[in-house]
Amino acid sequence: MLVLAAGSGSSLFFPKVYDLIWSSVVLIVLLIVFAKFVMPKFNKVMDERAKKIKGQIDEATAMKKDAANLKEQYDELLGSAKAEAEKIRQDAKEQAEQIVGRAKAEAKAEAEKIRQDAKADLEAQKAKAMSDLSQEVGNVAAALASKILGTELKDPAVRSSMADLAIDRIGYEGGKQS
């Protein structure tokens, strides 16, 4: 009631010409400046930013892809290296086993050879000893027989049979004792 007391309420709804002109000027200036300068500038900057961000995202995606490829290559290399190492280890083990086996076989063969040689040597020694002994015993037996008979045994066949007899007896006695 107090507010409208001045009686000019309806005048508010009738615009003045100069007010309309200034309002139009203000709006037109604002529209032109916004349309021609402000918005294009902001649009340009925002587009550039969006482009840059997109570029960075693309770059990051490419880098991620590269990293994944590198990891794949690394895993592949690691896998092949592991397989290689396993193969080398297996080969080394096999070689070692072969070397050990060969060494064992060689050692065994050597030992057998030494044993055979020793045995042969022993046999030869034994034969030689038996031969020597036989000869010696023959001689002793012949000497003893000569002394007993009072004559020298000149026949080699007799002397030999006497020696053999003596050796057999010795052998018999030895076998009996053992």
């Binding site: 107090l2 507010v3 409208l4 001045a6 508010l12 200034w22 203000v26 604002l30 900057v45 930013r49």
Partner: protein, 293 residues
């Protein structure tokens, strides 16, 4: 008795204050009163703020640029793209941003000490803004459909029995020519006038109760002072809301005037393909001019 109350009571604001004399260029069509002066100063400030922000705009923004970009982005996404879509809305982004920023800052002048009145508290400014909105949605409709098709779509809605058209045609014509701009004008103007009177009323009462009454009534002054602060905060919200409503309604009227490329010609494949080709051609031309530019 009322005269006594008026004489001895608070100095309440009057609508006559919203019809000030024009001391500058008095008697000419370029006369300037205090409200127009506030409007011109506000316009210079808007141009200064936006031009400085635009001129200094960088890809990596500072706080000020971020704030301005936030406003632009908000208007673009929540009004323009929401109502018109990205394809159709691109053309009208600048208009909507201009409307919102200028209306909001004109409204906000009522909260600035020294101005104390919104720069659009005379009916002329809301009226011019509404007329521009009217021109825009008419131009949008005529450019897209042609005058006859635009008027036909607006005045003769499909699926209505023909006798109803006798009523509908004048109502719709009235709506697209008078009611829409009038409602835009009155809504903004009355809100600003009401805000001015309410805030002025609170502070006038505060001043009167503090200065001209006894101690027993001064508590009313405290209440009215608090009321003044509350109303000022409320008015700040109203300033933004009114700017938003004006912008939204303008976008909505444009949306009603131009066909949605996904809907128009839906029943007619030839028309749909022609429209699609037209849109594609326009887009290509725009991109070409951008590249050349």
């Amino acid at each position: 008795m009322p005269e006594v109350l008026l004489a001895s009571g608070p100095d309440f604001p009057s609508v006559s204050e919203l019809l000030p004399n024009a001391p500058l260029f008095h008697g000419t069509v370029f006369a300037i009163n205090s409200i127009i002066l506030i409007r011109l100063v506000a316009t210079v400030l808007i141009l200064l703020i936006m031009c400085v922000a635009a001129a200094r705009a960088k890809v990596v923004p500072g706080r000020f640029q971020s704030a301005v970009e936030w406003v632009i982005d908000f208007l673009r996404s929540s009004i323009v793209y929401e109502f018109l879509g990205e394809e159709r809305g691109e053309r009208y982004t600048s208009l909507i941003v201009t409307l919102f920023v200028s209306i909001f800052l004109f409204n906000f002048c009522e909260n600035i000490p020294g101005a104390n009145v919104a720069a659009d508290t005379t009916i002329a400014m809301p009226l011019i803004l509404a007329v521009w909105s009217l021109i825009t949605y008419w131009a949008a409709g005529i450019r897209t459909k042609g005058l006859w098709k635009f008027l036909k779509d607006e005045l003769l809605p499909k699926g209505v029995p023909w006798p109803i058209y006798i009523l509908l045609v004048p109502i719709n014509l009235l709506e697209i020519i008078i009611i829409r701009p009038f409602s835009l004008t009155i809504r903004l103007f009355i809100n600003m006038v009401a805000g001015y009177l309410l805030v002025g009323l609170c502070f006038a009462a505060t001043q009167w109760f503090f200065v001209s009454t006894g101690w027993d009534l001064k508590w009313i002054g405290v209440v009215s002072l608090l009321g003044g602060f509350v109303m000022t905060c409320f008015e700040m919200m109203v300033d933004a809301i009114q700017a938003y409503i004006f912008s939204v309604l303008t976008a909505a009227y444009i949306m009603l005037s131009i066909p949605d490329s996904s809907q128009v010609g839906a029943g007619d494949p030839v028309k749909a393909s022609k429209l699609q080709a037209k849109i594609m051609s326009k887009k290509a031309k725009r991109n070409l001019s951008k590249v050349k530019g």
